[in-house]
Amino acid sequence: MTTFDPITLEILWNRCRTILNEEIAGLIRAAFSPIIREAKDCSAGLYDSAGNFMTHADEGECHIRQTVKCLLEKFSPEELAPGDVLISNDPWKVGGHINDTAVVVPIFFNGRVAGFTAYLGHHIDMGGRGFSADSTSLYEEGILIPPVKLFSAGEPSLDIFEMVSNNIRHPEVVLSDIRAQMGAAEAAANKIAAMMGEFGLTGLDELSHAMIASSEEATRAAITAIPDGIYRHTVYTDGYDATDPVKMMLTLTIKGSDIIIDYSGSSPQSMYGINLVYNHTLALTHQCLMCTIFPHVRDNEGSYRPLSLIAPEGGIMNAKYPAPVMARHLTGFYIPSAVFGALARVIPDRVVADSAAVSNFGVIGTNERGDPMVGICTCLGGMGARATKDSPTTLFPFVIADIPIEVIENEFPLFVRKREMVQDSGGPGTYRGGLGQEIEVQVRSQKPATFFCMQERINHPPLGFRGGLPGAKADLVINNTIRPHPKKGYMLQPGDTVRIRANGGGGYGPPVRRNPEAVLADVRNEYVSAEQARKVYRVAIDSAGASVDRNMTKRLRARNGARGNGAKTTARPRPRTTQKRSPRGKPQRV
């Protein structure tokens, strides 16, 4: 067994990451769909010959740890030849929903498979109903591509191309994105092989072993530093219907250098597309643990080894094939609240208050020629406040970027009337949660367009922590009047508008302890109104709006004691069971 001295290991590890980074940059630059090229909803990984996950590109999410292993269940390395390209979008094997499609390329070195590169992209359309939460089975969500060879020894499987192309709305875009993924995966595989030659490696497995062992050791050391114990936390989500909130119950056991993640007691799987598959639940939970317990570790198979996940099959956290899973992110974005809530009991300074849900929607309209025009948009909300600082408006803890307004208006059947932060939406606290944004779009296609709502945290705002107050609730309004069912599809007429508000993040610590000068700065910049400053932060600003009225502030803050009203409002709320929603008027259910 070759051992690597720390310097060589460092150089090789960085070289692997650099190669993946260079090629994911190529994928992003060359992609056709704004989801990949602007929102950067893509990822890349490197694997050894057994499919063990060695490292990944810095850009993008990382939920493709298990992808190659799953594909190897069907294809053994001996069956693979140079020039083969594998593809799949099976949610249970790849990215948790059908849009996430992985292209996997074997790395050949000295005539043998040394390892694999995988490049995953979120495709703009995979057929079916479109990007929505309201399918009742996987079959409605689009075309499922099982693990297959898209190319065999350099020859394209034209049948597969034709089959896929006939089942999706934007074949030119989707197939070009797949070509861009292939271009990146093959180039990365070639560069890894060249690196092996340069450094005299005979295979990747020994390097993989060293990288994984090093990550595992560092992860275990970090876990060991957290006191042993059983930490529980339960959160409720809006769920598909307001009458049926989803319960997410987490029992986190820290024992020595191991963590047991147990979601037993959570709701059963939903009839609709808000379910998570096992691998995705594990990947998201892992990311939350990384943010808090081992942020300095470079994640790979080794950082997963100390974790074990218990999630009963048929539950919302481990849905059974062929459950619908397309909007799994609606539930998945509560995992941080569950994990941080549990960890708050032991490392309160290293967690953040609740962050905004991902507020997004899918739209299918038509262009001037009457061809389908598909769009997917996200409205970013506030990150939860931290123990020592305010938080920005961003997606947290998962990662995708905003699509520029100018690109949305070029590529999607939408005109954007507004995208701006909402004043007073950040959860008040000693440190303030990030502000939520409001986006208002107008249908600009000639014909009616289908609009799929995917809105969460309308009933369950991101909660504050340690006396911090909740961030603003999310909202969804059609034509200024109608609050539709937040997870269904509607037919909208040209000119109809939809206004979406993303949540503000929760606050951290009692707002009455916030530095009055920070409150003044917030008021001057209109993040916070003078009214909220006075009522919630108990800071009085002089009439010119230029300075803090110190005497008045002292008096305001003296009332009801220094702790203010923080404690009451941060109690975990009970699930709301009624909510009036009337999809009446213009929009119709699809």
Binding site: E10, F32, R37, S176, R179, G183, E186, P392, P397
Partner: protein, 700 residues
């Protein structure tokens, strides 16, 4: 005739004169005058010209200038109080950016703060759609009211970034007229002029940075031009751009953001030129001045140009942690480590060096100009690496006693070290900082530095190169003539060239050669006109055409070479083929059935390659190579030892010596450690070998 390069750094201002007939180079160096940087530049210019008997009125063809003014303005956030006017309803994209975080796992992440606070980001009622059609007319009365309010609030400059202005600039242009009417003294930057490209955040960020730097830059350039006029300077005054091209001061005064990295870029251009001339394919340039050190990795003699530059990063090495500037810049690493970097003991009693610099004023303590904090230069003096009587060729006397006293008091005594130990500590720590930064740069690019040759220049570069190379595992470094001012030579080694770009969206299925011919003709005429004005004969002009092209549904273009001469219908296929092969080269795929489109059509109009002889007129003189000897610190022996001092001006090709030794020239000193050796190559460069490379430290 002569061409002159002038580089204003944080500490020194360098002036280099190139004799265009003989290719010979002369140099001068003066202290920068931070209160009025043009003063030192003009003084240096006059001194060098007077020494060489050059008449500024008629003997100088070009003066090419670069400055760190713009980047320092941004890093120190010392620009104008700037407002941003946007389309109403879109006040926050400058702050939210693309909404992504540069570190997925760091919950304590700090996002870069925009240059414009929210209260100065104001919405204006107007709207143009993606097709460039006016949907809502500019509301002039509201716009004027907003301008008045901002002016009342103390705003000095305004950036305007309306949606889709790159497609239809009419509202942005009108907005500028309205601002002029309301407040004639306010500087205005329009996004449709600074960077007419899609993506409102990146466009606004670049435009805001431009507006922020506009007032100080414009004042500076006007001052500089005025002083040149007073000297009756008869040549052409030109500015270097961040990617190595050249422009006029008028353009630089409108778009200062394009001269962001003009000074450091020249160093990279020079290193690439030397690498090509000397046949070193892989180079790490190492340019250490008084305030900062810059490094650039150069493969195949071409510095890499990036269009995704960032300034003022929150985390130095994290992409996405700074403010985006989407204009072409030579890709470099820069850290706050120079001769003027201040050393101190921190709260834990540990020795730290930089990034704070004593700059030119007050400067290191040994300059005797009111400096009170020990610096790297003070340490180098105590260690015997610098000669107090021969700094800048003796034109500036250094006080060893003052340096010793301050190092003793502020570092050695509290840390219970000898003064020499403390001085070596300062020297070694700044080297370690630079080596770490270079390691990160190499790691980012995935290269092994052992394969590279370092080219060391800048006043402090050759003093520190030996120890930095040893830390990096680099076996060889090279020091060009006049190393202390060599970066200014970078202004002169490249051909004089102007870039032009026109946006014209053309699907190749609708290929229209007549329009393209007209666009290219217009740009080429403009290029020829500017070159003629700069004294380039018509027959010496070369024109390179290219285009930014993409598949119609992509979001970013790639650079494709376009044939010269009149284009005809037959060139359509030629251009498609060139695009497909460039796309294949870059992304490893292409497809014949997809629609291709050209977006920007570009030319570079260049003059002839200048004659630059590397044979230094002062080199190979007849005097004794060995000038004297003096005590200097030899870390291998951990003590001061008597070592030989060589006079660079008396070294001939073939000369060889062993370390420990120093080789002195006017503007810099080469330190050669024990076990190392130096030779002089055919062209007079000093090539130093670094022995028994020790393992890099701190890499993991």
């Amino acid at each position: 005739m002569y061409r002159i390069g002038c580089d204003i750094g944080g500490t020194f201002t360098d002036v280099v004169v190139l004799d265009t007939e003989r290719g010979e180079v002369h140099a001068g160096k003066v202290l920068t005058t931070p209160d009025d940087p043009a003063r030192a530049a003009i003084e240096g210019l006059r001194t060098v010209c007077a020494e060489r008997g050059i008449a500024l009125e008629r003997d100088v063809q070009h003066l090419i200038h670069g400055t760190t003014l713009v980047i320092n303005t941004l890093i120190q956030r010392a620009g104008a109080k700037t407002a941003l006017l946007v389309t109403e309803g879109f006040r926050d994209f400058l702050e939210i950016g693309r909404g992504s975080r540069y570190d997925n796992y760091d919950i304590n992440i700090d996002m870069p703060q925009p240059l414009v606070p929210r209260r100065w980001r104001r919405g204006i009622r107007e709207r143009i759609d993606a097709q460039g059609v006016v949907r809502t007319k500019l509301n002039e009365s509201q716009a004027r009211r907003v301008v008045r309010e901002l002016v009342k609030d103390g705003v000095e400059a305004m950036a305007v970034c309306f949606l889709h202005s790159f497609r239809n600039p009419v509202h942005e242009r009108r907005m500028r007229e309205l601002i002029r009417k309301e407040a004639p003294s306010i500087e205005v930057s329009l996004s449709c002029e600074v960077i007419p490209e899609i993506r409102e955040y990146e466009r606004a960020s670049t435009t805001v940075a431009n507006a922020f730097a506009l007032p100080p830059t414009r004042r500076y350039l006007a001052n500089f031009s005025e002083r040149l006029k007073q000297l009756r300077f008869g040549g052409e005054f030109l500015m270097m751009l961040s990617h190595g091209g050249i422009t006029t001061p008028e353009v630089a005064g409108q778009v200062p953001i394009r001269i962001l990295e003009s000074g450091p870029a020249a160093g990279a251009v020079l290193a690439a030129f030397l690498g090509e001339r000397l046949g070193y394919p892989r180079i790490l340039s190492f340019d250490m001045g008084g305030t900062t050190a810059k490094s650039c990795l150069i493969d195949d003699c071409k510095p890499q140009v990036t269009k995704e530059f960032e300034v003022a990063r929150m985390a130095r090495f994290k992409k996405g942690s700074g403010l985006p500037i989407n204009l072409p810049v030579i890709d470099m690493m820069e850290i706050g480590a120079g001769g003027g970097s201040i050393a101190r003991l921190d709260a834990m009693g540990l020795l730290t060096v930089g990034p704070l610099s004593a700059g030119a004023d007050p400067g290191p303590v040994c300059y005797g100009r009111r400096g009170t904090a020990p610096t790297v230069t003070d340490a180098d003096l105590l260690l015997g690496y610098l000669d107090p009587a021969y700094f800048l060729g003796g034109s500036m006397r250094l006080s060893k006693r003052a340096a010793a006293a301050v190092v003793e008091q502020q570092i050695a005594k509290p840390a219970r070290l000898t003064a020499i130990e403390a001085a070596w500590g300062i020297h070694n720590i700044v080297d370690e900082n630079m080596a770490n930064a270079a390691r990160v740069l190499a790691v980012e690019k995935g290269v092994a530095l052992a394969d590279y040759t370092m080219i060391a220049f800048g006043g402090a570069g050759p003093v520190h190169a030996f120890n930095v190379c040893r830390k990096l595992g680099i076996g060889r470094f090279l020091v060009p003539h006049a190393a202390g001012v060599a970066s200014a030579l970078g202004f002169l080694v490249a051909p004089l060239s102007f870039d032009f770009i026109r946006t014209y969206i053309l699907k190749l299925t609708d290929f229209d050669h007549t329009t393209l011919n007209r666009i290219y003709r217009e740009m080429e005429n403009e290029g020829r006109r500017l070159l003629a004005k700069a004294g380039v004969a018509a027959e010496q002009v070369t024109i390179m055409r290219s285009a930014d092209m993409r598949y119609a549904l992509q979001g970013r273009e790639i650079d494709v070479a376009i044939p010269s001469g009149p284009l005809g219908p037959e060139h359509r296929q030629h251009i498609l083929d060139a695009f497909a092969s460039a796309h294949m080269q870059k992304y490893n795929w292409s497809h014949p059935d997809l629609e291709v489109m050209g977006v920007n059509w570009k030319i570079v109009a260049s003059g002839p390659r200048p004659l630059v002889s590397l044979n230094h007129p002062d080199g190979g003189g007849d005097g004794e190579a060995r000038k004297s000897e003096r005590e200097m610190y030899v870390p291998e022996f951990k003590e001061m030892r008597l070592c030989p001092v060589y006079n660079r001006y008396h070294l001939r090709p073939g000369f060889a010596c062993e370390g420990p030794a120093v080789i002195e020239e006017r503007e810099s000193t080469i330190v050669i450690g024990a076990g190392g050796g130096a030779t002089v190559d055919e062209l007079g460069n000093v090539v130093v070998t670094v022995p028994g490379v020790s393992a890099p430290t701190g890499a993991c």
